[in-house]
Protein backbone atom coordinates (compact mmCIF):
# COMPACT_ATOMS: atom_id res chain seq x y z
CA UNK A 1 0.00 0.00 0.00
CA UNK A 2 2.68 2.45 1.03
CA UNK A 3 4.57 1.96 -2.20
CA UNK A 4 2.15 4.30 -3.94
CA UNK A 5 2.21 7.23 -1.51
CA UNK A 6 4.34 10.19 -2.45
CA UNK A 7 7.62 10.67 -0.67
CA UNK A 8 7.10 12.97 2.29
CA UNK A 9 10.54 12.93 3.81
CA UNK A 10 13.79 12.32 2.06
CA UNK A 11 17.16 12.24 3.74
CA UNK A 12 20.25 11.63 1.68
CA UNK A 13 23.74 11.09 3.05
CA UNK A 14 23.03 12.97 6.25
CA UNK A 15 26.12 13.58 8.36
CA UNK A 16 26.47 15.07 11.79
CA UNK A 17 29.41 15.42 14.16
CA UNK A 18 29.65 16.66 17.72
CA UNK A 19 33.04 17.97 18.77
CA UNK A 20 34.75 16.19 15.92
CA UNK A 21 33.07 12.85 16.64
CA UNK A 22 30.91 11.63 13.80
CA UNK A 23 27.55 10.65 15.23
CA UNK A 24 25.61 10.29 11.98
CA UNK A 25 27.86 8.87 9.31
CA UNK A 26 25.84 8.54 6.15
CA UNK A 27 22.14 8.26 6.70
CA UNK A 28 19.78 7.94 3.76
CA UNK A 29 16.13 7.38 4.37
CA UNK A 30 12.89 8.16 2.64
CA UNK A 31 9.42 7.93 4.05
CA UNK A 32 6.23 7.80 2.04
CA UNK A 33 2.86 9.16 2.92
CA UNK A 34 1.02 6.85 5.32
CA UNK A 35 4.08 4.87 6.29
CA UNK A 36 4.98 4.03 9.86
CA UNK A 37 8.71 3.63 10.33
CA UNK A 38 10.28 2.56 13.61
CA UNK A 39 13.90 3.22 14.44
CA UNK A 40 15.57 0.88 16.90
CA UNK A 41 19.14 0.47 18.00
CA UNK A 42 21.43 0.62 21.00
CA UNK A 43 21.87 3.67 23.18
CA UNK A 44 24.15 6.26 21.64
CA UNK A 45 23.69 4.98 18.10
CA UNK A 46 22.39 8.37 16.95
CA UNK A 47 18.63 7.82 16.82
CA UNK A 48 17.76 11.02 18.63
CA UNK A 49 20.36 12.95 16.67
CA UNK A 50 18.75 11.73 13.45
CA UNK A 51 15.31 12.95 14.59
CA UNK A 52 16.78 16.23 15.79
CA UNK A 53 18.47 16.83 12.45
CA UNK A 54 15.30 15.87 10.58
CA UNK A 55 13.25 18.30 12.68
CA UNK A 56 15.95 20.97 12.38
CA UNK A 57 16.59 21.24 16.10
CA UNK A 58 20.14 20.39 15.14
CA UNK A 59 21.93 21.59 12.01
CA UNK A 60 23.41 18.82 9.94
CA UNK A 61 26.95 18.97 8.54
CA UNK A 62 26.36 17.27 5.21
CA UNK A 63 23.77 15.67 2.96
CA UNK A 64 20.28 16.76 2.02
CA UNK A 65 17.01 16.99 3.84
CA UNK A 66 13.77 17.51 1.99
CA UNK A 67 10.09 17.44 2.72
CA UNK A 68 7.75 16.87 -0.25
CA UNK A 69 10.65 17.54 -2.62
CA UNK A 70 11.26 20.95 -1.03
CA UNK A 71 14.88 21.07 0.00
CA UNK A 72 15.40 22.30 3.55
CA UNK A 73 19.13 21.62 3.49
CA UNK A 74 21.51 20.58 0.77
CA UNK A 75 25.17 20.49 -0.03
CA UNK A 76 26.83 23.22 -1.99
CA UNK A 77 30.57 23.29 -2.63
CA UNK A 78 31.00 20.64 0.03
CA UNK A 79 29.14 22.66 2.63
CA UNK A 80 25.69 22.11 4.01
CA UNK A 81 23.40 25.08 3.40
CA UNK A 82 19.90 25.65 4.66
CA UNK A 83 17.06 27.19 2.68
CA UNK A 84 16.08 30.82 3.40
CA UNK A 85 14.17 31.45 6.61
CA UNK A 86 10.81 32.01 4.92
CA UNK A 87 11.03 28.73 3.09
CA UNK A 88 12.14 26.85 6.20
CA UNK A 89 9.09 28.24 7.96
CA UNK A 90 6.89 26.68 5.30
CA UNK A 91 8.77 23.39 5.40
CA UNK A 92 8.42 23.39 9.19
CA UNK A 93 4.66 23.03 8.88
CA UNK A 94 5.14 19.55 7.44
CA UNK A 95 6.26 17.89 10.63
CA UNK A 96 5.70 17.62 14.34
CA UNK A 97 7.79 16.09 17.10
CA UNK A 98 6.78 14.34 20.30
CA UNK A 99 9.48 14.44 22.95
CA UNK A 100 10.46 11.77 25.41
CA UNK A 101 9.79 14.10 28.35
CA UNK A 102 6.73 15.82 26.82
CA UNK A 103 7.97 19.41 27.19
CA UNK A 104 4.48 20.71 27.73
CA UNK A 105 4.16 24.37 28.67
CA UNK A 106 3.49 24.20 32.42
CA UNK A 107 1.93 27.66 32.68
CA UNK A 108 -0.71 26.88 30.07
CA UNK A 109 -3.79 24.73 30.56
CA UNK A 110 -4.17 21.63 28.45
CA UNK A 111 -6.50 23.53 26.12
CA UNK A 112 -4.06 26.40 25.71
CA UNK A 113 -1.13 24.06 25.19
CA UNK A 114 -2.99 22.64 22.22
CA UNK A 115 -4.51 25.82 20.79
CA UNK A 116 -1.72 28.34 21.32
CA UNK A 117 0.51 27.33 18.43
CA UNK A 118 -2.31 27.06 15.87
CA UNK A 119 -3.59 30.48 16.92
CA UNK A 120 -0.26 32.24 17.26
CA UNK A 121 1.76 30.53 14.54
CA UNK A 122 -0.83 29.47 11.96
CA UNK A 123 -3.34 32.27 12.69
CA UNK A 124 -6.20 29.81 13.07
CA UNK A 125 -9.23 31.57 14.62
CA UNK A 126 -9.42 30.81 18.33
CA UNK A 127 -12.88 29.22 18.09
CA UNK A 128 -11.75 26.88 15.37
CA UNK A 129 -8.56 25.97 17.20
CA UNK A 130 -10.54 25.13 20.32
CA UNK A 131 -12.95 23.00 18.36
CA UNK A 132 -10.03 21.17 16.81
CA UNK A 133 -8.49 20.70 20.26
CA UNK A 134 -11.73 19.32 21.70
CA UNK A 135 -11.92 16.76 18.94
CA UNK A 136 -8.33 15.71 19.54
CA UNK A 137 -8.86 15.49 23.29
CA UNK A 138 -11.91 13.32 22.77
CA UNK A 139 -10.00 11.13 20.38
CA UNK A 140 -7.15 10.73 22.87
CA UNK A 141 -9.50 10.12 25.81
CA UNK A 142 -8.77 13.40 27.58
CA UNK A 143 -12.04 15.26 27.21
CA UNK A 144 -12.31 15.97 30.93
CA UNK A 145 -8.80 17.42 31.13
CA UNK A 146 -9.14 20.49 28.93
CA UNK A 147 -8.89 22.90 31.87
CA UNK A 148 -6.26 21.00 33.83
CA UNK A 149 -2.64 22.08 34.02
CA UNK A 150 0.14 19.70 33.01
CA UNK A 151 1.33 19.30 36.62
CA UNK A 152 -2.07 17.85 37.50
CA UNK A 153 -1.77 15.06 34.94
CA UNK A 154 -0.10 11.67 35.00
CA UNK A 155 2.85 11.09 32.69
CA UNK A 156 0.71 9.11 30.28
CA UNK A 157 -1.85 11.88 30.14
CA UNK A 158 0.86 14.49 29.65
CA UNK A 159 2.30 12.55 26.76
CA UNK A 160 -1.12 12.25 25.16
CA UNK A 161 -1.59 16.00 25.52
CA UNK A 162 1.76 16.56 23.85
CA UNK A 163 0.66 14.30 21.00
CA UNK A 164 -2.55 16.34 20.72
CA UNK A 165 -0.48 19.54 20.73
CA UNK A 166 1.60 18.25 17.82
CA UNK A 167 -1.45 17.02 15.91
CA UNK A 168 -3.27 20.33 16.33
CA UNK A 169 -0.93 21.86 13.75
CA UNK A 170 -2.01 19.15 11.32
CA UNK A 171 1.46 17.96 10.37
CA UNK A 172 1.93 15.55 7.50
CA UNK A 173 4.52 13.58 9.38
CA UNK A 174 4.97 13.07 13.09
CA UNK A 175 8.23 12.12 14.79
CA UNK A 176 8.35 10.42 18.18
CA UNK A 177 11.53 10.16 20.23
CA UNK A 178 10.99 7.33 22.70
CA UNK A 179 7.49 8.52 23.60
CA UNK A 180 7.08 6.05 26.45
CA UNK A 181 10.59 5.93 27.94
CA UNK A 182 9.84 8.46 30.66
CA UNK A 183 6.68 6.66 31.72
CA UNK A 184 5.97 4.10 34.39
CA UNK A 185 5.38 0.71 32.75
CA UNK A 186 1.67 0.75 33.57
CA UNK A 187 1.28 4.03 31.70
CA UNK A 188 3.04 3.14 28.47
CA UNK A 189 0.04 1.18 27.21
CA UNK A 190 -2.27 4.17 26.97
CA UNK A 191 0.27 6.11 24.90
CA UNK A 192 1.08 3.19 22.62
CA UNK A 193 -2.63 2.69 22.06
CA UNK A 194 -2.98 6.28 20.88
CA UNK A 195 -0.09 5.87 18.48
CA UNK A 196 -1.60 2.66 17.15
CA UNK A 197 -4.85 4.48 16.51
CA UNK A 198 -2.98 7.14 14.57
CA UNK A 199 -1.35 4.41 12.51
CA UNK A 200 -4.75 2.99 11.73
CA UNK A 201 -5.73 6.42 10.41
CA UNK A 202 -2.64 6.34 8.18
CA UNK A 203 -0.78 9.11 9.94
CA UNK A 204 2.78 9.12 8.66
CA UNK A 205 5.06 8.49 11.63
CA UNK A 206 8.69 7.91 12.46
CA UNK A 207 9.08 6.43 15.89
CA UNK A 208 12.26 5.89 17.85
CA UNK A 209 11.40 3.22 20.38
CA UNK A 210 12.68 0.48 22.63
CA UNK A 211 9.27 -1.21 22.61
CA UNK A 212 10.09 -4.09 20.27
CA UNK A 213 6.72 -5.77 20.28
CA UNK A 214 5.04 -2.47 19.59
CA UNK A 215 7.40 -1.72 16.71
CA UNK A 216 6.79 -5.13 15.29
CA UNK A 217 3.02 -4.86 15.38
CA UNK A 218 2.77 -1.34 14.13
CA UNK A 219 5.52 -0.59 11.65
CA UNK A 220 5.54 -0.90 7.93
CA UNK A 221 9.28 -0.73 8.17
CA UNK A 222 11.89 -1.01 10.88
CA UNK A 223 15.30 0.61 10.77
CA UNK A 224 18.12 -0.69 12.90
CA UNK A 225 20.76 1.92 13.66
CA UNK A 226 24.16 1.38 15.13
CA UNK A 227 27.16 3.67 15.42
CA UNK A 228 25.65 6.31 13.21
CA UNK A 229 24.68 4.16 10.28
CA UNK A 230 21.62 2.20 9.24
CA UNK A 231 22.76 -1.36 9.73
CA UNK A 232 19.58 -3.04 8.61
CA UNK A 233 16.23 -2.03 7.25
CA UNK A 234 13.13 -3.98 6.33
CA UNK A 235 9.65 -5.10 7.22
CA UNK A 236 9.15 -6.22 10.82
CA UNK A 237 9.32 -9.84 9.71
CA UNK A 238 12.58 -9.26 7.87
CA UNK A 239 14.14 -7.50 10.83
CA UNK A 240 12.93 -9.99 13.41
CA UNK A 241 14.31 -12.85 11.33
CA UNK A 242 17.38 -11.01 10.22
CA UNK A 243 20.63 -12.85 9.60
CA UNK A 244 22.72 -9.89 10.74
CA UNK A 245 24.34 -10.86 14.07
CA UNK A 246 24.14 -7.37 15.50
CA UNK A 247 20.43 -7.11 14.84
CA UNK A 248 19.77 -10.55 16.26
CA UNK A 249 21.76 -9.83 19.35
CA UNK A 250 19.98 -6.51 19.90
CA UNK A 251 16.51 -7.92 19.41
CA UNK A 252 17.39 -10.98 21.46
CA UNK A 253 18.04 -8.75 24.47
CA UNK A 254 14.44 -7.63 24.44
CA UNK A 255 12.92 -11.08 24.09
CA UNK A 256 14.26 -12.66 27.23
Amino acid sequence: MSEEGKILLQIEHMKKSFDGVEILKDISLSVREGEVVSIIGPSGSGKSTLLRCATMLETMDGGTLSYLSEKAAYEENGRCVYAPKAKLKEIHKNFGLVFQNFNLFPHYSVMKNITDAPVVVDKVPKKEAEERARKLLAQLGLSDKADAYPCQLSGGQQQRVSIARALALQPKILFFDEPTSALDPELTGEVLKVIKELAREHMTMIIVTHEMQFARELSDRIIFMEQGIIQAEGTPEEIFHCENDRVREFIGKFQS
Binding site: K89, F95, N101, N103, L104, H107, L169
Partner: protein, 215 residues
Amino acid sequence: MTLSTILLQLMKGMGVTAEIFFLTLLFSLPLGLLVAFGRMSKNGIIRTVSKIYISVLRGTPLMLQLIVVYFAPFYVFHLKVGNYRFPAIIIAFALNYAAYFAEIYRAGIESMPVGQYEAARVLGYSRLQTFVRIILPQVIKRILPPVTNETITLVKDTSLAFVLAQAEMFTMAKQIAAKETSIMPLMIAGVFYYLFNLIVATVMERIEKSLNYYK
Protein backbone atom coordinates in the same frame (compact mmCIF):
# COMPACT_ATOMS: atom_id res chain seq x y z
CA MET B 1 6.17 71.00 67.21
CA THR B 2 3.19 68.85 67.99
CA LEU B 3 3.06 65.18 67.24
CA SER B 4 0.51 65.73 64.50
CA THR B 5 2.71 68.23 62.64
CA ILE B 6 5.63 65.83 62.96
CA LEU B 7 3.49 63.07 61.54
CA LEU B 8 2.28 65.32 58.77
CA GLN B 9 5.83 66.28 57.80
CA LEU B 10 6.94 62.68 57.85
CA MET B 11 3.95 61.68 55.72
CA LYS B 12 5.03 64.21 53.15
CA GLY B 13 8.51 62.68 53.21
CA MET B 14 6.91 59.29 52.89
CA GLY B 15 5.23 60.47 49.69
CA VAL B 16 8.61 61.31 48.19
CA THR B 17 10.01 57.98 49.40
CA ALA B 18 7.15 56.15 47.70
CA GLU B 19 7.74 58.13 44.52
CA ILE B 20 11.42 57.16 44.46
CA PHE B 21 10.42 53.56 45.13
CA PHE B 22 7.84 53.24 42.36
CA LEU B 23 9.76 55.20 39.74
CA THR B 24 12.87 53.13 40.41
CA LEU B 25 10.94 49.91 39.88
CA LEU B 26 9.23 51.30 36.81
CA PHE B 27 12.56 52.03 35.11
CA SER B 28 14.89 49.41 36.56
CA LEU B 29 12.75 46.34 35.91
CA PRO B 30 12.69 46.75 32.10
CA LEU B 31 16.22 48.16 32.01
CA GLY B 32 17.42 45.14 33.96
CA LEU B 33 15.93 42.83 31.33
CA LEU B 34 17.75 44.76 28.63
CA VAL B 35 21.04 44.46 30.52
CA ALA B 36 20.39 40.75 31.07
CA PHE B 37 20.00 40.32 27.29
CA GLY B 38 23.25 42.20 26.82
CA ARG B 39 24.91 39.94 29.36
CA MET B 40 23.76 36.86 27.40
CA SER B 41 24.32 38.34 23.94
CA LYS B 42 26.20 36.44 21.28
CA ASN B 43 28.07 39.65 20.52
CA GLY B 44 31.25 39.70 22.61
CA ILE B 45 31.44 43.48 22.88
CA ILE B 46 27.86 43.85 24.11
CA ARG B 47 28.45 41.01 26.53
CA THR B 48 31.60 42.57 27.95
CA VAL B 49 30.06 46.02 28.27
CA SER B 50 27.07 44.57 30.11
CA LYS B 51 29.33 42.57 32.37
CA ILE B 52 31.36 45.65 33.28
CA TYR B 53 28.17 47.64 33.83
CA ILE B 54 26.83 45.05 36.26
CA SER B 55 30.15 44.65 37.99
CA VAL B 56 30.71 48.39 38.53
CA LEU B 57 27.17 49.20 39.65
CA ARG B 58 27.06 46.32 42.08
CA GLY B 59 30.64 46.88 43.20
CA THR B 60 30.47 50.54 44.22
CA PRO B 61 28.32 52.23 46.88
CA LEU B 62 24.92 53.42 45.77
CA MET B 63 25.57 56.59 47.76
CA LEU B 64 28.58 57.32 45.64
CA GLN B 65 26.61 56.66 42.48
CA LEU B 66 23.94 59.11 43.60
CA ILE B 67 26.54 61.82 44.08
CA VAL B 68 28.26 61.08 40.77
CA VAL B 69 25.02 61.13 38.81
CA TYR B 70 24.00 64.38 40.45
CA PHE B 71 27.26 66.23 39.97
CA ALA B 72 28.51 64.69 36.71
CA PRO B 73 26.62 67.01 34.36
CA PHE B 74 28.29 70.00 35.96
CA TYR B 75 31.76 68.72 36.75
CA VAL B 76 32.26 66.57 33.67
CA PHE B 77 30.22 68.33 31.01
CA HIS B 78 30.06 71.83 32.51
CA LEU B 79 26.33 71.82 32.03
CA LYS B 80 24.03 73.76 34.23
CA VAL B 81 20.83 71.85 34.53
CA GLY B 82 17.85 73.27 36.35
CA ASN B 83 16.09 71.39 39.10
CA TYR B 84 17.94 68.12 38.58
CA ARG B 85 17.96 66.71 42.11
CA PHE B 86 14.99 64.39 41.87
CA PRO B 87 15.71 63.11 38.33
CA ALA B 88 19.30 62.42 39.38
CA ILE B 89 18.06 60.29 42.27
CA ILE B 90 15.76 58.28 40.00
CA ILE B 91 18.47 57.83 37.37
CA ALA B 92 21.01 56.60 39.93
CA PHE B 93 18.55 54.24 41.62
CA ALA B 94 17.28 52.86 38.32
CA LEU B 95 20.79 52.27 36.98
CA ASN B 96 21.86 50.60 40.19
CA TYR B 97 18.84 48.35 40.62
CA ALA B 98 18.87 47.42 36.92
CA ALA B 99 22.25 45.80 37.55
CA TYR B 100 20.85 43.65 40.35
CA PHE B 101 17.69 42.80 38.44
CA ALA B 102 19.76 41.90 35.36
CA GLU B 103 21.55 39.18 37.26
CA ILE B 104 18.27 37.89 38.67
CA TYR B 105 16.72 37.78 35.18
CA ARG B 106 19.76 36.07 33.78
CA ALA B 107 19.76 33.36 36.43
CA GLY B 108 16.02 32.87 35.82
CA ILE B 109 16.36 32.67 32.06
CA GLU B 110 19.31 30.33 32.24
CA SER B 111 17.46 28.02 34.61
CA MET B 112 14.77 27.34 32.00
CA PRO B 113 15.00 23.81 30.59
CA VAL B 114 16.13 23.73 26.98
CA GLY B 115 13.15 21.48 26.19
CA GLN B 116 10.81 24.47 26.46
CA TYR B 117 12.71 26.28 23.71
CA GLU B 118 12.85 23.16 21.57
CA ALA B 119 9.15 22.41 21.94
CA ALA B 120 8.33 25.99 20.96
CA ARG B 121 10.70 25.84 18.02
CA VAL B 122 9.23 22.65 16.62
CA LEU B 123 5.75 24.13 16.99
CA GLY B 124 6.87 27.03 14.81
CA TYR B 125 7.02 29.87 17.34
CA SER B 126 9.37 32.68 16.40
CA ARG B 127 12.15 33.55 18.82
CA LEU B 128 10.26 36.58 20.09
CA GLN B 129 7.03 34.60 20.50
CA THR B 130 8.92 31.90 22.35
CA PHE B 131 10.40 34.40 24.77
CA VAL B 132 7.27 36.42 25.39
CA ARG B 133 4.75 33.58 25.53
CA ILE B 134 6.67 30.61 26.84
CA ILE B 135 9.86 31.66 28.61
CA LEU B 136 9.18 35.02 30.29
CA PRO B 137 6.00 34.00 32.18
CA GLN B 138 7.83 31.04 33.67
CA VAL B 139 10.92 33.12 34.43
CA ILE B 140 8.80 35.68 36.29
CA LYS B 141 7.44 32.96 38.52
CA ARG B 142 10.92 31.66 39.21
CA ILE B 143 12.48 35.02 40.03
CA LEU B 144 9.76 36.42 42.26
CA PRO B 145 11.48 35.48 45.54
CA PRO B 146 14.80 37.23 44.73
CA VAL B 147 12.91 40.19 43.22
CA THR B 148 10.96 40.49 46.47
CA ASN B 149 14.26 40.64 48.35
CA GLU B 150 15.58 43.42 46.15
CA THR B 151 12.33 45.32 46.41
CA ILE B 152 12.43 45.25 50.19
CA THR B 153 16.02 46.44 50.11
CA LEU B 154 14.97 49.24 47.78
CA VAL B 155 12.43 50.54 50.28
CA LYS B 156 15.22 50.95 52.80
CA ASP B 157 17.74 52.21 50.23
CA THR B 158 15.50 55.14 49.32
CA SER B 159 16.82 56.74 52.52
CA LEU B 160 20.19 57.14 50.80
CA ALA B 161 18.65 60.01 48.85
CA PHE B 162 19.43 62.09 51.91
CA VAL B 163 22.98 62.63 50.56
CA LEU B 164 21.46 64.85 47.89
CA ALA B 165 19.31 66.55 50.54
CA GLN B 166 16.15 65.27 48.93
CA ALA B 167 13.22 65.79 51.28
CA GLU B 168 12.24 62.14 51.56
CA MET B 169 11.19 60.59 54.83
CA PHE B 170 14.62 59.87 56.29
CA THR B 171 15.89 63.40 55.59
CA MET B 172 12.76 64.87 57.12
CA ALA B 173 13.02 62.67 60.19
CA LYS B 174 16.64 63.66 60.71
CA GLN B 175 15.87 67.35 60.36
CA ILE B 176 12.96 67.25 62.77
CA ALA B 177 14.92 65.14 65.21
CA ALA B 178 17.74 67.71 65.22
CA LYS B 179 15.40 70.64 65.60
CA GLU B 180 13.34 69.07 68.37
CA THR B 181 16.26 67.26 69.97
CA SER B 182 14.13 64.15 70.10
CA ILE B 183 14.66 60.68 68.80
CA MET B 184 10.95 60.21 68.30
CA PRO B 185 10.77 61.38 64.65
CA LEU B 186 13.39 58.79 63.74
CA MET B 187 11.49 56.08 65.56
CA ILE B 188 8.32 57.03 63.73
CA ALA B 189 10.21 56.97 60.42
CA GLY B 190 11.38 53.46 61.32
CA VAL B 191 7.80 52.38 61.86
CA PHE B 192 6.81 53.90 58.52
CA TYR B 193 9.57 52.04 56.67
CA TYR B 194 8.54 48.86 58.39
CA LEU B 195 4.90 49.28 57.44
CA PHE B 196 5.84 50.10 53.87
CA ASN B 197 7.81 46.88 53.65
CA LEU B 198 5.04 44.93 55.27
CA ILE B 199 2.78 46.07 52.44
CA VAL B 200 5.43 45.27 49.84
CA ALA B 201 5.93 41.79 51.26
CA THR B 202 2.19 41.14 51.38
CA VAL B 203 1.69 42.27 47.79
CA MET B 204 4.58 40.15 46.55
CA GLU B 205 3.25 37.16 48.44
CA ARG B 206 -0.12 37.66 46.78
CA ILE B 207 1.52 37.72 43.36
CA GLU B 208 3.50 34.59 44.17
CA LYS B 209 0.33 32.83 45.31
CA SER B 210 -1.50 33.88 42.16
CA LEU B 211 1.17 32.07 40.13
CA ASN B 212 0.93 28.93 42.20
CA TYR B 213 -1.65 27.40 39.90
CA TYR B 214 1.16 25.55 38.16
CA LYS B 215 4.48 24.03 39.12
